[in-house]
Amino acid sequence: MPLPIQPTAAGVAFKPEHGADALADPRPCGFLEVHAENYMGAGGPPHALLERLAERYPLSVHGVGLSLAGPDRLSRSHLARLSAVCRRYAPALVSEHLAWSGIAGAHLADLLPTPYTRPMLRRVADRVDAVQQALGRAILIENPASYVAWETSRIDEAEFLSELARRSGCGLLLDVNNLHVSAVNLGLAPGPYLDRLDPARVGEIHLAGHAATQDERGHPLLLDTHGAPVDAAVWRLYRAALDRFGPVPTLLERDRDVPPWAELRREVDRAAGMLEDAARRRLGRAA
C-alpha cells in the first residue's frame, strides 16, 4: 500500500548510492523523491531498489522531461512512460516543471525559460490538463531557476503560475532556491512573489544549494547547481514561505558533490524542525 506524505514531512531527492543507508536508517525521513526519467527502464536493479524503498518511504515522482512549455506537441510516448511509472509506484506526489527541454528530435537535458504570455498560458494549461487526464490525478508544477527572460513576457511568473493552477487545477511546487536564484538573477522581489501564490495550491517545497558567481561586468549570477548545502538566504526565504503557507512537504535536493546520507539527513532534519515549528505556530494561531 503506498504511503502518504504528511504536511510536516521533510524528504530527500534519492540517489542510488544512498540505497543501503536509506534502507537501514532506523529513523526514515519523511519521503523520497525520484526523477521519473530514471525509472523508465523495463526492469533491473533500479526498480528492485525503489520497490524496497517504497515499503519504508512515501514516494514523490518528479518529471523533468515533459517539456510542458515546449514548441512541439506533447510527447504521447513520454506521457505513456510517465503513466507507467505512476501506475507502478502509485506515488503520493507527482510533479513537473514550468519549462521546456528541447525540440522534436533533440532533448537538451536542461529546463529552459518560458515566455510568459497569454497564448503560452493557454498552451501550458491545456497540456497540464492533458497530463492530469492521462495520469488520473492532479500534478504539481515547479517554478524555474531563471538566467534570462523573454522580451515577449507580459505576465509575471507568480501570476502565470497562479493562473495556470486556477485553469488546470494543478498544484504548485515552490522551489525556494529557484525563487532566490531567479530573484537575484532577474532582479525580482521574492516577498511579493510568495504573496501572489495561493496557499491552498502549494503542495510541495524544494530546497537546494546554488553557486554564487559574478559575470564579467560584476553583476551577480547565481547558478542552480544543487551542489552545495542550502544557503542562509534560502533558509530565510523558506521560513517566510512557511509563515505564509503553513507546513508543506519539503524536499532537499543535492545532485553534485553528494555528501553521505547522514550529512544530508542533518539538512533534512533542519527542514523537519522548521516544519514542526510552522505547524505549532499554525495551531497557536488557531487556538
Binding site: G102, A106, H107, T117, G187
Partner: protein, 260 residues
C-alpha cells in the same frame, strides 16, 4: 493560425539551435537586467545542456573515459551530443550510437579497440535496465519432441578483433592495468544476473549457440552451427558452459510433463 504562438515557437527553436551550436549568435528575444552580461547568462544554459549530456555519456561509458582520459572523453562526447542529441528524455539509452561514432572519430583512430569497449558498455547498461524476465515463450506452431536450444536470459555478444574483455576489465577497475602481452581477439558475452551484469569471455562456438538459441534451433542444428563457427570445438562443452552461465537452456517443448 495563431500568429503569436507561431512566433513564440520559432523563437524557441532558434534558442534551442543556438544552445548546441558553438558558433551561433545569441538568439533574439531574450533579455537580462540592465548591467548584466546577457551572453554569460545564455552560456549558463549552453553549459547546462552540454555538461548534462557529456555527464550522461560519462556515466554510461566509464571504461571508455578511463582509456582516453577525461578531456579527450569530454571532447568526443560534446561532439557526439551536438551531432546526435538524445531523442527523448530517458538518458539511459542516450549514446546507443556512441560506439559507431568513436569508430569513425578521427582523433580516436590510434585506439582501435575503443569502439568495442563502448559496445560492451552499451550492452551492459541496456541489460542493466532491461526487463526482469524474458517475454513468455511463444507457442510453437507444430508439435514435436525435438530438443531445442532456447534463450534463458537476455544475452548480448560483442565480437572484437582485440582482447576487449581484458581491456574492459582493466578500465572498469576489475583488474590492475598492465601491458597486454597476448593480443588475441576476445569476444564478450553479457547477461544480467540479479543485480549485476557480468562480462564473460566466449568463443565463436558459444556465440553461435547463443545465436541458435534466439532462433530456437534444434540441438542438432545448434551443434552444427557451433562446429561451423569454430571447427574442432567441443559443442557439448560450450553448451554446458552457457547453460551453467544461465544464458541458454535446452527445451523439448512437447514432452509429457514439460511446459504444462
Amino acid at each position: 493560425m495563431n500568429r503569436p504562438r507561431a512566433t513564440a515557437a520559432a523563437a524557441q527553436r532558434t534558442f534551442a539551435a543556438a544552445l548546441v551550436d558553438p558558433d551561433a549568435a545569441l538568439p533574439p528575444g531574450i533579455a537580462a537586467p540592465t548591467g548584466a552580461d546577457l551572453a554569460r547568462r545564455f552560456a549558463v544554459h549552453r553549459n547546462n545542456v552540454l555538461s548534462g549530456l557529456v555527464e550522461a555519456l560519462g556515466q554510461r561509458f566509464p571504461a571508455v573515459a578511463a582509456i582516453v582520459g577525461d578531456p579527450f572523453f569530454a571532447a568526443a562526447a560534446t561532439e557526439y551530443a551536438r551531432i546526435l542529441p538524445p531523442l527523448h528524455p530517458v538518458l539511459a539509452d542516450f549514446g546507443d550510437r556512441f560506439p559507431e561514432f568513436l569508430a569513425a572519430f578521427p582523433p580516436a583512430a590510434g585506439v582501435p579497440y575503443l569502439a568495442d569497449v563502448a559496445r560492451i558498455e552499451v550492452a551492459r547498461t541496456r541489460l542493466f535496465h532491461g526487463a526482469d524476465a524474458l517475454a513468455p515463450e511463444p507457442v510453437p506452431a507444430a508439435a514435436g519432441a525435438v530438443m531445442r536450444v532456447v534463450p534463458a536470459a537476455d544475452v548480448a555478444i560483442v565480437r572484437s578483433r582485440y582482447p576487449v574483455v581484458t581491456i574492459w576489465e582493466m578500465n572498469a577497475g576489475l583488474r590492475p592495468p598492465a601491458a597486454i602481452a597476448d593480443w588475441s581477439p576476445e569476444w564478450a558475452m553479457l547477461l544480467r544476473r540479479q543485480e549485476r551484469v557480468p562480462v564473460l569471455r566466449v568463443g565463436p562456438a558459444a556465440a553461435a549457440l547463443v545465436q541458435a538459441s534466439r532462433r530456437r534451433r534444434s540441438l542438432a542444428a545448434a551443434f552444427a552451427a557451433a562446429l561451423a563457427a569454430e571447427p574442432g570445438c567441443d559443442p557439448v562443452a560450450a553448451l554446458t558452459t552457457l547453460i551453467e552461465a544461465g544464458a541458454v537452456a535446452v527445451d523439448a517443448p512437447f514432452q509429457p510433463g514439460r511446459n504444462q
